[in-house]
Symmetry: C2
Subunit: 467 residues, 2 copies
């Protein structure tokens, strides 16, 4: 990697190397494969192992994994997806498992222990010193999506009365992780968090400066049961590298580092997007790793809901059979109006849901949203109506009254769709429902019903057909 390559070239190079390693393993040239793999850093080695596991199965993967230097093996293990970690755990000895778990960073250790079968966890905990076992149990009990589940207890503690020189000597002795060393935490008696000092401040300050002079007591922190989405918002807002987590008594219980927040943001965004498309998935399992029945279970509830709503729309339409039977051409405009309504609504819905998710839009902006969508929908409605009227009259050769029916319905439907799309997610948030659930599927099912009724009522009025 000594020369500059752009991303594509790098990835291509990597893919070629992976293929090479796989064919070396197939030929049982294990040592050559290991030498090849050790050119990469631990994150990339993790990716190679994933590929090997997929292509050659678990036995060869474990042979290769065992050939890695011990410290590399531990780090690589921490980067593997949970499923792959479990496969490897099942293939290695208890002693090897214990070694890996012991060497993992605390937060990775918790993540792995959470997923391992209970009997393996018990075996590992038996061999763990009592103090750490207690700590592990506390961490394992934090709910999955709260600040507590993201934090690590590995941080640098200082005292107010230390000098910079003493603090630096302390840091040198502890020799922490690269992620967690850059902010140090000053605690009072009873573990209460007093202030924070950045390593940068320590490095720049004179040796005999007191920590109490350097520390920042007006720091931002999160509470251990704060939701991970709020923690992520705090990181985004302030641009921190780490943030302290305190309990009810304001005792420092751990810190959260920004690298874990990148994963949280990805997870939360994926959840939002899936919900917005009517997929209910509460796991973090990747698409390809998820079984067919699980996919069915995730997608069925909304499809059933939507089908029922569309059945109701269908029943409404049958009430207007008289209108449709008389002017059968109206049938061909029904999907046009319903479809345009659904799309117009989902545009507005997505903008508002995303705007609220990134804190650009607040509940108190409801009237502004209403006013903006009202004007946007009138303009869009007029343009699309004119366009459709022209098509109905000049291209389809229908009467002007039918053209007017389509045009008038179009304006009303777009206005309704935009306003519902904009305000429904806000109403949901107001009453504590995830706005992402009010996206396309919900909005379009509402819009569909209203579109059908609007169109058919206007048709019967304008065309003078009695219902």
């Amino acid at each position: 990697m000594s020369e500059t390559m752009d991303m594509d070239t790098k990835m291509q190079q990597f893919d070629e190397d992976v293929e090479k390693i796989i064919s070396l393993l197939e030929e049982k040239a294990y040592f050559k494969a290991r030498d090849e793999i050790l050119k990469y850093n631990e994150v990339d080695i993790g990716e190679v192992l994933e590929e090997v596991l997929e292509e050659l199965g678990v036995e060869k993967t474990i042979i290769l994994f065992r050939m890695l230097p011990k410290d590399v093996a531990v780090e690589v293990f921490s980067y593997l997806p949970t499923d792959d970690q479990l496969e490897i755990v099942q293939g290695i000895t208890d002693r090897e498992i214990s070694y890996i778990i012991q060497e993992l960073d605390f937060d990775d250790k918790i993540d792995v222990l959470e997923e391992l079968p209970a009997n393996i966890v018990d075996k590992i905990l038996e061999k763990t010193p009592k103090e750490e076992r207690k700590l592990i149990n506390t961490f394992l009990n934090y709910p999955d999506t709260c600040a507590g589940s993201l934090m690590t207890p590995d941080y640098i503690s200082l005292q107010e009365t230390m000098t910079v020189a003493e603090a630096m000597a302390h840091i040198k002795r502890e020799g922490m992780d690269s992620e967690t060393v850059y902010t140090c935490y000053v605690k009072k008696r009873g573990r209460k968090l007093e202030g924070i000092v950045s390593l940068r401040a320590l490095v720049i300050a004179d040796d005999d400066t007191l920590i109490s002079e350097l520390m920042n007591t007006d720091y931002v922190y999160v509470s251990v049961y704060d939701d991970q989405e709020e923690v992520a918002e705090t990181f985004k807002k302030y641009g921190f590298l780490a943030i302290p987590v305190v309990d009810k008594e304001h005792r420092l219980v751990g810190i959260i580092t920004v690298d874990d927040i990148l994963d949280v943001i990805e997870e939360e965004t994926t959840e939002d997007m899936e919900r917005m498309a009517g997929v209910m998935d509460d796991s973090d399992t990747e698409y390809l790793d998820m079984g067919v029945f699980r996919h069915v279970r995730n997608r069925l509830p909304w499809l059933i809901f939507l089908t029922v709503s569309l059945m109701i729309t269908g029943t409404i339409i049958t009430k207007f059979e008289a209108v449709l039977a008389q002017v059968i051409v109206l049938v061909s405009y029904l999907p046009l109006l319903m479809g345009t309504g659904g799309n117009a609504g989902s545009q507005a819905g997505t903008l508002i849901i995303r705007g609220m998710a990134v804190d650009d839009i607040d509940l108190k902006d409801a009237f502004k949203v209403f006013w903006k969508e009202l004007r946007v929908s009138i303009i869009l409605g007029v343009i699309l109506s004119a366009f459709n009227m022209a098509k109905v009259v000049f291209i389809d050769g229908q009467s002007v009254m039918i053209g007017l029916t389509v045009a008038a319905s179009m304006i009303l439907i777009i206005m309704f769709a935009k306003l519902v799309g904009g305000l429904l997610p806000m109403a949901a948030k107001k009453i504590g429902i995830d706005p992402a659930l009010m996206a396309t599927p919900m909005i379009s099912s509402l819009t569909d019903m209203v579109s059908a009724v609007t169109f058919l009522v206007i048709a019967s009025l304008l065309l003078g057909i009695s219902l």
Copy 2:
């Protein structure tokens, strides 16, 4: 902020303080307002100013802004949204502008200069030392979404031949930003990047260790023209705090820090979500700050596209008028089938688009996606068909043949929708089109057409109606 509060309480407290500050400003109690605002840190002060600007207008905001201590004012300025920065710039003197710009961190400086009117930029550059002016001009020329536009030239440079003690003394002299100090960069002659050393390694190492012994030469880097989305992926993959940016000759031109990547991820995700809902917006303007006509312009193209596609579907339906006129009840099932198809397709589309965006799904997985969606769609199709058939026959009291027509169409439509939803985004990526453009609007317009044809053809076959 000395006691623990959960997020909601904190936010409520903040909102109350903002109201207090605004009423103080209304009463012209400027000094009290300033004292109140200075309790908060710079990010929060920025938020207060945003509120003040919105509630009380630009004059009062500028009075308050001018009363802030100079260093606080500069930092607060850097956190304001671009629109608000421009409003403030227009209200303060050239000298104040120059001061702020000069004091900003280099990457913030570039961001501000990019948005300022050319005449103000020229004035500022006139007063800038020649070397820096050259650098600013180079940075201003990087395209908006590449690595170059995200980087800062403020980083710590070391030499291989330095000892740790010399390096630490150097860092102390430079006294960099908190974000950029934690990784140091070792350069050869000709500015070529040789290796990187973390501040952690320096702190832990003995004073007389040579940098060449500590540095990591197998570092990950990006190229100056790499797309920001790829840079974000690199950060997510490796969990770095900063990453070096090199040019074609592998010279170090700057570094990118993780706090800027959080913004990139947010921006890219928002763009994806908007595109997936048929909103074309190439600006970063927030929903509420965007004018009505701009909103119309962003939403009109897809609505027109969809309307045309729905017109075509309508025309197809008119070809089957004979079928519909004979069995008018079929009309009420048409939206049901079209709607379910659209929803089923958009579920699959969203899963695949998101899966590709987070690198869980690769183009080479196309067959796996096909096979998974095929099975999922058959199971979902059978369940929904049975459900619908029961409704048609037992609740609506229609004939079994009509029930069968609906059921058979339902299975075929769901299969088609899931396969198109899954594979269309992959095909788009293959030929270099953003998969997000192939989401709900595109998938549902295709599904609509196919649904209509499928249903009406099956109806005419099963019900024995000649076309």
